[in-house]
Symmetry: C2
Subunit: 309 residues, 2 copies
Amino acid sequence: MSKQATIAIIGLGRMGANMARRLQRGGMQVVGFNRSDAVTQTLAKETGLTAASSLQDAVLQLSPKRLVWLMLPSGEPTENALQELTTRLAPGDVVIDGGNANYLDSQRRAQLLAQHQIGFIDAGTSGGVWGLENGYCLMVGGEQRDVAQLEPVLKLLAPAPDRGWAHVGPVGAGHFTKMIHNGIEYGMMQAYAEGFALLKGKTEFNLDLAQISELWRHSSVVRSWLLDLTAGFLKQDQKLEAIAPFVADSGEGRWTVDESIRQGTSTPVLALALYMRFASQDKEGYGNRLLAMMRNAFGGHLVKDKTGD
Amino acid sequence: MSKQATIAIIGLGRMGANMARRLQRGGMQVVGFNRSDAVTQTLAKETGLTAASSLQDAVLQLSPKRLVWLMLPSGEPTENALQELTTRLAPGDVVIDGGNANYLDSQRRAQLLAQHQIGFIDAGTSGGVWGLENGYCLMVGGEQRDVAQLEPVLKLLAPAPDRGWAHVGPVGAGHFTKMIHNGIEYGMMQAYAEGFALLKGKTEFNLDLAQISELWRHSSVVRSWLLDLTAGFLKQDQKLEAIAPFVADSGEGRWTVDESIRQGTSTPVLALALYMRFASQDKEGYGNRLLAMMRNAFGGHLVKDKTGD
């Protein structure tokens, strides 16, 4: 006879699976569901979680009051699961979206669920693949009574029961806070990247970037977890010749800049960090081609000369 | 009879005094000199360092091979001390500049001292007022034999003998590395500042910025020492109404951008973080007055209306 389960995790990708692992290790019985059943079965064998074969099955295996934690890609997968849950759950149950949704969507979704007396919590979740060992930083938005119901789960997922999680405000405030967190992350990453590019560019000093990143980890003003990670990979390979100079972006950086425009708050560095990612993604280089042609038009500068003059 | 001293610290301001304290605590006898003798005498009483009444006196109280560590404002004070030291020191002695000099100046100064067979080390020093307890992050440029002579000092100043200090390259490389460190610092600080401004700007959520900064310290991707400090002061006061919105800059941020132009390396976020400080320093706002007048000229927009339309 398995322990009574009150929480299901829907979506057992990298993040969802590790969160299920952390809860199971903490002594909590989790029901898990993933679109690909093989993933669910493997994780069930590994961790002892209760495998569910469908969203409906997951709900049926929970005791009220149910907690259903979505760890799905933002957009359609999350939207579809929420729509279905309005018909599967009962009043008093609570849905948590732990993914990276736009907070405006979260506010709308909470209203939809509220029509069925189902609670909604937006739980911005940071920590990446390191969350399993270190715990997750959880930024939680929602009604007080819903958050109270989720509290035992939050305390297990966080680095410690008394830190790394917080109820930051009403529905939407959790994903809003996570969005800003990621916006800041873009800016910090770009600042490091530009600085290391200058170190590398000073060829006469032949600097050892692995040595310097490691050095800066100790008592410098720029020490951070991002720097710890950077020192880790530079130690292995500081030339990065096998890495494409292409930086993906997810929605959060864009939403942060949308928000700055909505507010009329000046956030030029966060916006520029996002635009630098777009520039890295631009294989066509149409703007630069145009600039080369303009220089050619007014000054007769060669357009094929790679030095640009 | 006092222990034999081989190192003098010239300039006992906030940084120099704390470095002298740390060396004395570590069991090393330090000769100290400060322009204001009262400062030297007070520190001598507190720490047991050997007070010197002049730069010449400091040199005379050292046993060869002498180490003279300058902790002076960059520019004239450092330049003057170096000029005098060329006549006071002997071949085999080493001068260390621990201040924030431009690395191009350091390269020039090393050449000057080399004409007198005096060594020169540029030791970029980070850690601020926390260095006394935590140790300093030391980025050291110079000749191998000079750095070897300084090594016992570096091991005491650093957070631990085996970390937080490194010989990063030839003369100039230490101050160069420190300059880039500070450039990155500007970018990181601006990223946090813009993110917190967005949190504050979202008035409908009434977010507790002290709570969020503390939350982010635990397992989030943006955790850092700068965030630790930010959480510390936001806990005391998150309105910051008594703080003028004026951000000073020292030379390092400007030199970093100079360097990016010298190299032709694109560092837009580091440059913009610097320019945002300039904007904060601009009381006259001439550029914005001009823009207001342009809007007035083409669209008849009111120039005195603070909303700008």
